[in-house]
Amino acid sequence: MSKTTMFLSSRQIILLILGLSIGGGNLLLPGRVARVFGTGGWILVLAAGLIFIFAAWICACLGRIFPGETVVEFSRRLLGRPLGFLTGLVVVLFFLLYIPVEIRILQELVNISILRRAPSWFVSSTFFLVLAYATATDFETLAQVNEVLIEITLIVGLMVTLFGWRFFDPSHLQPVFSVEEMNLAKFWEEAGMILGFTGYPLLLLVFPFVRRHRSLPRAAVFAVTLVVLTYAFFTITTLGVFGWNEVAGQAWPGLELAKAVNFEVVILERLDMILIVSWLGAIFTTCFLAYHFAVSGLSRLFNLRSHSPLVWGLAPVIYYLSTILTNYFAWNKWLSYLSVLAVFVGVVLPVFLLFVAGLRRWLGSSGDTGED
């Protein structure tokens, strides 16, 4: 009776993109943009967002051209076997390398807030165990769990942000442009923020599961727009509450905001715990989605049948990678490199693939244009 094939509705796709985008990095985001762009950080968020919205649209358009295929298959047809294989591998690698750093962020978040003095191996290994268990189940369940968790996270996050407006001071946002010139070295340090936007590359791997490819671009654009607007709102609030100077000095501006807006309720003394716990959920969704897409991409790449043995097979590798990133500098550097990969997978690759597809169709005669 269990369905063998599942189809994703537009709503689920939007929530999948949100689930992969919103993760641990978001609590750091205001600090990053403040360091790079000062008071006008939220403009940076919007501007970067526009690029990614466009890229998401292109990604979704690929889905309209190649319904029923993932990037692993259609890149092979477009670029030939070796190059296509490589493309698939890069996409898989992007998802795969995303997980260790998210685990590290989670571990740090847990260690500074709800479970102090707990050994880091304990936090990361228990989380990883639950993560692998979750990923080993079927995609349908994952998509459904993602829905709940990300909705809760969004609601809690928005509530915290809205409460923050009690302390909002518009003068903190002036002057709008406070930075003389973009410091590229600094930007490189903070490049990890890009990963907050690049949840949409998962589209490249879900085309076969989409019911209506027509509405795919709209869903993708909507999802990324929602992400961008949420981030911008969050950044404006944080900057407005603390002022950019203070935000730039904070490691976890998101947490600071939650602590600042805190008001005592009868049962719990500190409300920021609710944000942290719900953010654990957000990190959890990011991780299991990344893990799932890495594994499903790999199994498509090598034509494997079931993916759950692969989940457990990859587990030691991912866990080992996460142990390398021992401190903030290590994982921040990892994030920077990963964001290069993200830009490649999320922006360069879709544009390039679309270009090649267009070129092939324009040349026409070969017949193998992917339109089937």
């Binding site: 009776m1 994952l142 709940v148 959920g281």
Partner: protein, 549 residues
């Protein structure tokens, strides 16, 4: 003819032992359900021989070696006397029917003689059609086909010189009358529950739903018990895939006996090792009726008052029948109370441990002081205290459940009240722990379904240990794992956590709360019914009422 015979004597009768008038009522109502199916064709079909003695020998060989099988020899007063044998099981067949409607009818029938002189060959048919005034009589010509009806309380009449036998419905055994189920009592609502007789139960459902689409399909399960299991559903509403799946799974069962519907429940569940029940069981006829109206399938098993309902979602275990009989504000409140107590019964002890172990800063200061003060002098660490108390509660609960009525209450008072008070006074446990554990126990009693309450109880212990090891973080992780686990469960293809996971906005109207009936236009979509409309006319929204439109 048989279908028209209904539930004729609805007068409530208290427990009857023996073969009173009421026993006869049971016989009339409890018809042979498996008649349509007959015996399984796999069995050899020994035909009846014209020699009565041979037939009787055969039956005696098969079933006659038990002392409760009666072979009544008799002679028909005809010009050429015909020997007959009536075979029935003492206690299952109603003696009254056999005496009055079989033996007496056969004795004083003058026209039998004339008929016999006219057409000897058709004597058996003639007796069936014109002599026996019994509601159900069948003509059978195979010896083996006779055995199951005899063992289910029917009487077989064998005739010397004829290759046909008559099987008469004489079922009439001691049965329990319909009364209110103790486990699912309501303040407002029908006070009827199922009984152990299948036919009463299906008749109860029919009394509610007078729809030609109501199907009662009987399947026989159990190699030795040959229990009748009835699927009850509305053909134009229920999802045919679910019906088909239920039939398929029931058909796959190969077990010697079905004692109770719980055996079926365990055999046909989607996940055999699932921690949560994925099939609902109920004693209330109205619950089955409501479920059937929603497009679900009721499974009623003979010899047990507990019917099964499939498919089911997790939240439904927290719905009570009463939620639909009270006015909606009350029902809404009751649901909210029940679901919050579900949350407490699952998380309260572990949250208590996690907060006081790792994050005392989260507890408001006055409360924290109180907590620290109350724990002074307590010799056990907190988690041990909680675990021990939980264990004690479980033991008290089990002890009071096992002891007969009034004694059980005594155990509850001694265990809960005196022991708890003494333990606190002696300084063995802190008062706050007692409060937490007692509150948890009370919360867990609000669950209308026993099965899911047990699952939550089982989960509570690992959660306390997780909270001890990982604090709030551990609890969050455990919750994620639990979420993934439960979201993956299907009950006959329906996601276990729907309508929340996946989201079915329409169905949320009747979930954590219940909106008024006029607002529930559609049947729950989670079950994918064929006919989704519950109300054809569009009910007015509150804003329309407000605007007076």
């Amino acid at each position: 003819m048989k279908k028209r015979r209904g539930f004729r004597q609805p007068k409530p009768v208290s427990r009857t032992r023996g073969q009173g008038k009421t026993g006869q009522g049971a016989g009339q109502v409890a018809r042979t359900c498996a008649r349509e199916k007959g015996m399984s064709p796999a069995q050899e079909n020994a035909g009846l021989s014209p020699d009565l003695q041979e037939n009787v020998e055969y039956l005696k060989e098969k079933i006659g070696r038990s002392d409760d099988v009666v072979f009544r020899e008799y002679t028909l007063e005809l010009p050429d006397p015909v020997a007959i044998v009536v075979v029935f099981v003492d206690g299952l067949a109603s003696k009254e029917i056999i005496n009055e409607y079989i033996l007496q009818s056969l004795t004083f029938k003058g026209e039998l003689k004339s008929e016999w002189t006219r057409d000897k060959k058709n004597l058996v048919r003639h007796i069936k059609d014109k002599v026996l005034n019994i509601n159900e009589v069948r003509v059978l010509s195979s010896l083996d086909e006779l055995i199951t009806p005899i063992l289910s309380g029917e009487a077989a009449i064998l005739f010397d010189g004829y290759e046909e036998a008559l099987v008469c419905n004489t079922r009439g055994w001691a049965y329990r009358s319909i009364d209110e189920p103790e486990t699912e009592a309501v303040i407002r609502g029908p006070r009827v529950g199922f009984t152990e007789t299948l036919r009463f139960n299906t008749a109860q459902v029919r009394r509610w739903i007078r729809d030609p689409d109501l199907r009662v399909k009987v399947v026989r399960v159990g190699r030795r018990t040959k229990s009748d299991v009835a699927l009850v559903y509305l053909e134009s509403v229920a999802n045919p895939q679910v019906v088909e799946e239920v039939e398929r799974r029931l058909g796959k069962i190969d077990i010697d006996g079905v004692m109770e519907s719980s055996i079926l429940q365990e055999m046909i569940e989607d996940r055999k090792l699932s921690l949560f029940p994925t099939i609902q069981s109920t004693e209330r006829a109205d619950r089955v009726v409501a479920a059937v109206l929603e497009g679900k399938v009721g499974i009623i098993t003979d010899n047990t008052p507990f019917a099964l309902i499939v498919p089911v979602t997790f939240w439904e275990f927290y719905y009570a029948a009463e939620d639909y009989y009270h006015r909606w504000p009350m029902a809404f409140l009751l649901r909210l109370v029940r679901f919050s107590s579900f949350f407490f019964s699952l998380y309260l002890p572990s949250l208590y441990v996690a907060l006081s172990f790792y994050n005392p800063e989260l507890i408001p200061f006055p409360l924290a002081v109180q907590l620290a003060g109350s724990r002074e002098g307590v010799p056990f660490p907190l988690f041990l205290e909680v675990l021990l108390m939980e264990l004690a509660i479980e033991i008290i609960r089990e002890a009071s459940a096992r002891l007969p009525g009034p004694l059980g209450q005594t155990i509850g008072i001694v265990g809960g009240f005196i022991l708890g008070d003494a333990a606190v006074r002696a300084g063995l446990i802190s008062p706050l722990t007692t409060v937490v554990v007692a509150l948890t126990a009370i919360c867990s009693f609000t669950s209308p379904n026993f099965g899911v309450a047990i699952s939550i109880r089982i989960l509570r212990f690992p959660l306390v240990i997780v909270a001890l090891v990982g604090g709030l973080y551990g609890l969050a992780l455990a919750t994620f794992a639990l979420l993934v686990y439960t979201a993956g469960i299907r009950s006959f293809g329906v996601p276990f956590l729907s309508p929340f996971v996946p989201l079915q906005p329409e169905d949320i109207k009747d979930s954590l709360g219940r909106v008024p009936f006029w607002a529930m236009l559609n049947r729950p979509r989670s079950y994918k019914p064929l006919d989704t409309k519950r109300q054809k006319t569009k009910a007015r929204h509150w804003w329309e009422r407000l605007l007076g439109r």
